[in-house]
């Protein structure tokens, strides 16, 4: 037991001595004063990812100088000289690397600058454009033109609306008048109820029927009307012709009396011509006794 302990102690001692010797040996070559600081500076430069590859030649030079500075040297002046050189070379390598990094950054900076300049110019152009627009919009002439254009547009719209309304109105009135669109125009047939048999004087009850025509003619002053009188085949032809003429004239006179300009109205007698029904029956003859008002198809207004 004791013996084993002794051996252990002895071997431990040996290890300790060897270790101390080893450490002693390792630390024996004293680095010259200041060389450790220079080494630290170099290590810092080498460890800087941005700068480590910036100036490879200068860095190699600095590394060699640092190794040189670390050599044991009894001549203290020479040792200090080497440290001085190494220190300056490390600083030089760092500066050169910094220069290189700055030059590399410059490319990106120039791109940013160019982009900013471009943006600025674009903005300036946009601004100029908008200024011009504002100036133009502010000019009275443009404003007037815009207004007049707007008015024109409104007018056109109103006209379109009114045309539409008028057309609708016309349609409505034609329906009231019971006019029929034919190839001659719109034909309004006024029945024999307007006149007493054999007479050309309008009956009092006819007024309501004719007033609608009057209103129509007054509302559409550009339209003209051809008033045609017809009779049945009873009686002599000459008599019927004359009667139809007088009846047509009576209607025309009535309309003129209501304010319709006579130049817009024509009247003529068609006598027994153009029957619309059978003259053999009383009902047919009644239909044939009529006044037709043919309103031209010309556009309104």
């Amino acid at each position: 037991m004791n013996r084993t302990n002794y051996i252990t102690m002895k071997s431990a001692l040996a290890v300790a001595v060897a270790a101390s010797l080893f450490i002693g040996c390792a630390s024996t070559p004293k680095h010259p004063l200041g060389s450790e600081q220079v080494r630290a500076k170099l290590t810092a430069l080498q460890g800087d990812p941005a700068l480590a590859n910036g100036a490879p030649v200068a860095l190699k030079d600095a590394e060699a100088a640092v190794r040189d500075a670390e050599r044991t040297e009894k001549d203290l002046v020479l040792a200090a000289h080497r440290v001085y050189i190494a220190d300056h070379k490390v600083d030089t390598a760092r500066s050169l690397a910094e220069t290189r990094v700055a030059e590399q950054e410059r490319t990106a900076l120039n791109e940013q600058s160019e982009k900013a300049r471009l943006n600025s110019r674009t903005a300036e152009a946009d601004r100029a454009k908008s200024d011009a627009l504002i100036a133009r919009a502010e000019s009275a002439e443009q404003k007037l033109a815009a207004n007049s254009a707007r008015t024109d547009a409104n007018d056109a719209m109103l006209a379109a609306n009114s045309a539409q309304q008028q057309a609708a109105e016309l349609q409505r009135q034609l329906e009231i008048l019971q006019a029929k669109p034919t190839d001659r125009g719109l034909v309004l047939t006024l029945g024999d109820t307007l006149f007493s048999t054999g007479k050309a004087e309008l009956k009092a009850g006819a007024a309501a029927n004719l007033d609608r025509l009057t209103n129509f003619m007054n509302e559409y002053p550009k339209r003209t009307a051809a008033i045609e009188g017809y009779t049945d085949s009873m009686g002599s032809e000459e008599m019927n012709q004359a009667l139809s003429e007088r009846r047509a004239a009576a209607v025309k006179n009535y309309l003129v009396g209501q304010g319709v300009v006579s130049s817009r109205l024509t009247s003529r007698g068609r006598g027994e011509n153009s029957p619309i029904a059978d003259n053999e029956s009383a009902a047919g003859r009644q239909q044939n006794r009529r006044v037709e008002v043919v309103i031209d198809q010309a556009p309104t207004n």
Binding site: V77, H81, I85, H88, K89, L96, E98, A102, E105, R127
Partner: protein, 133 residues
């Protein structure tokens, strides 16, 4: 009367003896030669640093290079050639550092200038766009 050939022979013999002696004397007594290369290199490095305007951007380093070179020349005049060589090398190292620092300072200045211009441009643009709004 000695023949010219004999004279030459004796002269050669004499020379053969004196040359090693002279060399021996040189090694024993002569000082090391003037470190011309080192001094020239230092002067060139300083000139180079001056050319890149190190006086403006790295005045301390350039000043040190100049005084080191002056010290080297002083050492030469005092026949301290080893010291002269060392001082000349230090002058060169200092001048090279001055030039390198000048380069870095200039590069940084140029970059700062570009950055400032860009910033001004951006600011101006934002102000103008702000005005129109």
């Amino acid at each position: 009367m000695n023949s010219p050939i004999e004279f030459t022979r004796s002269a050669r013999r004499r020379l053969r003896m004196t040359l090693p002696m002279l060399l021996l004397c040189g090694v024993a007594f002569a000082k090391p030669p003037i470190p011309t290369t080192n001094l020239d290199s230092a002067q060139q490095a300083i000139s180079n640093a001056e050319r890149v305007e190190a006086a403006t951007f790295a005045a301390v380093e350039l000043g040190e290079a100049r005084s080191k070179l002056a010290a080297a020349q002083q050492a030469v005049s005092e026949k301290e050639m080893v010291a002269a060589a060392q001082l000349a090398d230090e002058a060169r190292a200092s001048a090279e550092l001055a030039a390198a620092r000048t380069g870095a300072a200039k590069a940084a200045a140029v970059n700062a200038d570009i950055k400032r211009n860009t910033a001004t441009l951006v600011e101006e643009m934002q102000r103008k766009t702000g005005d129109t709004k």
